[in-house]
Amino acid sequence: MTLLKTKRASRRGFLRGTLAGTAVGVGLPFLDMFLNGNGTALASGAPLPVRFGTWFCGLGHTPGRGMRALEGNDYEFIEECLSLEPYKKDYINYFSGFNTPLDGSISAVHYTGWVAGKTGSVPQGFGMIPAPTLDTIIADKIGTKSRFKSLEISSTGNPKDSYSYRNAGNHNAGEVSPLNFYLRLFGPEFRDPADKDFTPDPRVLLRQSVLSAVEGDRSRLVRAVGSEDRARLDQYFTSVRELEQQLEVSLSAPPALEACHKPKRPEEVPVGYDVETVNANHDTLSEILALALACDQTRVFNMMYTQAASEARVKGTTFTHHILSHEEPPDDHLGYQIQTAWFNERGYEALSRMLGTFSNIREGDGTLLDNVLIFAQTDTSDAKTHSVIGIPSMTIGKAGGRVNTGLHINGNAAPQSRIGLSLMQVMDVPIAEWGTRSLRTSTPISEFLA
């Protein structure tokens, strides 16, 4: 028996490219003529926007091989994180010793740690998202004036590798293809500030009309469902309104941001978990992201290098980063897992390159790094044992001068939710308390706040 083997459009074809990628350019200087005297505001009087982002890499670093504490609050990056040292003093705070009290719950390995850090609550198992992740709370506050409320990007090739949720059923999936990311941001709908003759696109007004009409569907539907589904409908209608706001932005002439320009269109490239591919895509996605921020297309982003329990691997080898973290024996002489450490180093090098890209975006007297606050997070403090005690994290950027930098902040077993609360307060979220049970806190980290 034979059947015609139809060459249906491959689902993977939508996700995977076949050609090698090319790098894209980074920003031009932000011309002084558009800034006030001290470079802290646009000539229009509007302050330079402070952006918020998260960055994630799975499995963190080997305990004792990322940072060395020095006197007082000083520290230095070492070994696996050495590539971050050039940015330490001016931009990076390192948080150690902050805990995740489980209150009797079982730790879901590679899951509980990051969920608690991002939601202020311990999940009761895999797949549970007990509260909105803090990036969505911040986006609600600062993300309404840009074209995109937030952007989620994943270097692993899997859109599920994104840790931005409003709840378990409301997930912001990651963009994985540099080309698709470019097209979404800088495709036909992008309004280039360099274009002198701006006229609103009448089709945008019509698109808004369509969305307004959708609002009329609410009453019939609300009558048809129970309260839980009504909440889901409300979230859908919130998404509709957010798109309406997004379209509203594109009806106005784009702000004169001279650092803004379109990057070179990337080629379709392969995606996947091998480190070479992850790094190449992370670099390209970072470059597009930097220009998206320079062009004020968004003020919130979530960038994933590798997911919790990282599946990163080296071509031709049989063990992934995650498996190595458990099964690789420590070297007899060096005392640590050499191959695992190699993967860890690659992650922080990628972060360092991203910071380099951001620092090439000139904004007034400084760079994009002066006007951004990035929460760099991981899933465990010791991958070998899945420990969630003292998961290391970092903040990167000056947040427009709102935070101190170059500090090692030891939590001394304080709940890690204090970091999240501090981040939200820096980003103007009117919140006095955050978290649940032992993670509930009303105490931000004072030495972090400028």
Binding site: N170, L206, G216, G226, Q235, E327
Partner: protein, 551 residues
């Protein structure tokens, strides 16, 4: 929970043979269209040549099924952004000058101006298929009004019509399948699905797409409210070619075949396993299942011992067998020497449950337990000292040797005993599903055990699986959960027992199981939302008190 539930069903099976137990039902719900459903609907309405370009944000799997995830998913801002762009893209294609004659049954009086009548003539029937019910007057007027406004502003009837169509495609009435219901006249909470909601439930269950015109006509006429009319429609749907895409969608969900989208194999270690193999390995699983259950209509349990499958040119490289017509799927029977029996031995199943560069008995065993037997393997404990596994020579050990170390730790051994006895008997397949007899230089010992049955190799596992009473129970549970888009729950235990009895009586054939579920009153049972019930109770109390005060 699923494992305990399956055991309970088995325990009560002997009590069957009575009329179908009646379920109270649950509150009406919303189910977000899955990507495949969206694509099927567009293809069914407008044809395969309309390109649904772009990626959808994935719906996250819950309780083992994307269908259940869809019953709990909303639409995030980034997802809606994509839906909106997609709707404009599709609508633009439908009305362009190459396609408009196919879909639009009228021409405007003036092509540069609005034409209310023609817009209505197009949007009304299309809206009925998209919303899976007739548009009410306000919905139709809104959509036509948008088309007219846009036609006026853009100076082109068809451009404007695209906006009217887009308004339907971004509506929650399209993007969510809504359980619309009618309130009963009798006791508190009594409710029933409308005929149109029943039609949708049937159609997505059996076809994974929107109801066709005939099914919607049956809904309108009330035919789905009586058993004869309902069974006639079910029979028609069972005979339709669309049943194949429905059955494929179910097994793709049950077997987690969406994970092929992100499956990676190291091409230095497994050079034969290229992207075409990944696509074909997925399709081989589905073709084998479809042929066995639909074309041959044979015992579901035989899927785990069958040597019949289909082979493509690219798969020939993985199975190391010459294929004379590489561009065709060719029926193929494995010889005993090829070492394959059952879908669990096919390259797709094996590769999906392996690491990128090596096999994994634990992952494979877990997949068999969770996907085929509906048994939940507990999550790994959070306090394991992995230093005991840091054996310097671990990368040169066989899988069995490595797992022996895991089994030496009490907190690990409990779960590894559940998985490894299954997975080790699949060790004759490497991480890409290729047959092998040696691993790291040693002969493979593929002996194992499943629920007290010991066997020597993968053929023994195949027999043990096919005879395991959990296999058919799991299928029944998954069928219900998939159709209802929720875990049937403990309340459905008697119903599952009843269906199991019928499944057994049918010789464990899948098509009769589909018929039994689709024809069951329980499949459509709903109760009014709590607010409705509370309001009704209040009215009842008020009426009673009024009566009381008047007497």
């Amino acid at each position: 929970m699923k494992g305990m539930f399956a055991a309970a069903v088995l325990f009560t099976l002997s009590a069957c043979g009575e009329p179908e137990p009646k379920l109270e039902g649950v509150e009406p719900s919303l189910r977000r269209l899955t990507e495949q459903q969206y694509r099927n609907v567009i293809a069914d309405l407008f044809g395969d040549h309309i390109i649904v370009a772009g990626r959808f944000d994935p719906i996250l799997r819950q309780d083992g099924l994307i269908a259940i995830g869809a019953g709990n998913a909303t639409i995030s801002a980034s997802s809606f952004d994509k839906y909106e762009k997609l709707a404009h893209s599709i609508a633009g294609q439908v009305v362009n000058d190459r396609n408009r004659a196919l879909f639009i049954p009228c021409e405007p009086a003036q092509v540069h101006e609005p034409d209310d009548t023609c817009a209505r003539t197009f949007l009304e029937p299309v809206g009925r298929l998209l919303f899976r019910r007739p548009l009410d007057q306000s919905e139709l007027s809104l959509s036509v009004g948008l088309a007219n406004t846009a036609s006026q502003q853009l100076g082109d009837f068809y451009d404007g019509l695209a906006f009217g169509l887009t308004s339907l495609m971004v509506s929650p009435n399209f993007l969510f399948v809504v359980d619309e219901f009618e309130k009963g006249k009798g006791e508190e909470g009594e409710a029933k699905l409308t005929g149109y909601a029943k039609a949708s439930r049937l159609s997505f269950f059996l076809w994974n797409t929107t109801p066709d015109t005939e099914l919607l006509d049956a809904a309108r006429s009330g035919a789905l409210s009586n058993s004869n009319g309902l069974e006639a429609q079910i029979e028609r749907m069972m005979q339709s070619p669309r049943l194949r895409q429905g059955v494929q969608a179910f097994f793709a969900d049950m077997l987690h075949l969406d994970e092929f989208d992100h499956l990676e194999k190291d091409n230095l270690i497994y050079p034969a396993f290229d992207p075409q193999v990944i696509d074909d390995a997925r399709d081989q699983l589905l073709l084998t299942i479809e042929h066995h259950l639909l074309d041959e209509d044979t015992d579901y349990r035989d899927l785990f011992t069958t040597r019949d499958t289909f082979m493509s040119g690219s798969l020939g490289r993985v199975y190391r067998t010459p294929i004379s017509e590489p561009d065709l799927w060719t029926a193929y029977e494995f010889s005993e020497g090829e070492g394959r029996a059952g879908i669990q031995s096919l390259a797709g199943f094996i590769a999906l449950h392996s690491h990128p560069g090596r096999s994994s008995p634990t992952i494979r065993g877990k997949a068999v337990r969770e996907l085929l037997l509906c048994q939940k393997i507990p999550d790994p404990p959070g306090d394991v000292d992995f230093s005991v596994f840091n054996e310097p020579s671990s990368q040169q050990m066989t899988a069995r040797e490595r797992l022996d170390v895991h089994n030496s730790v009490p907190s690990c051994a409990g779960c590894h005993r559940l998985t490894d006895g299954i997975g080790l008997s699949l060790e004759n397949y490497d991480g890409a599903g290729q047959f092998r007899t040696r691993d790291v230089g040693f002969d493979i010992d593929a002996s194992g055990n499943l629920d007290g049955i010991d066997y020597e190799n993968q053929f023994g596992l195949a027999d043990a699986l096919s005879q395991n009473p959990g296999i058919p129970v799991c299928l029944v549970q998954n069928t219900l959960a998939y159709g209802l888009a929720r875990d049937p729950g403990r309340d459905a235990r008697d119903w599952i027992s009843f269906l199991m009895q019928k499944f057994e009586e049918s010789g464990y054939r899948f098509k009769p199981l589909l018929r039994s579920v689709a024809a069951s009153e329980n499949f459509f049972a709903v109760i009014a939302p709590q607010e409705e019930r509370a309001a009704k109770t209040q009215v009842g109390t008020l009426l009673n008190s009024t009566k009381g005060s008047g007497s």
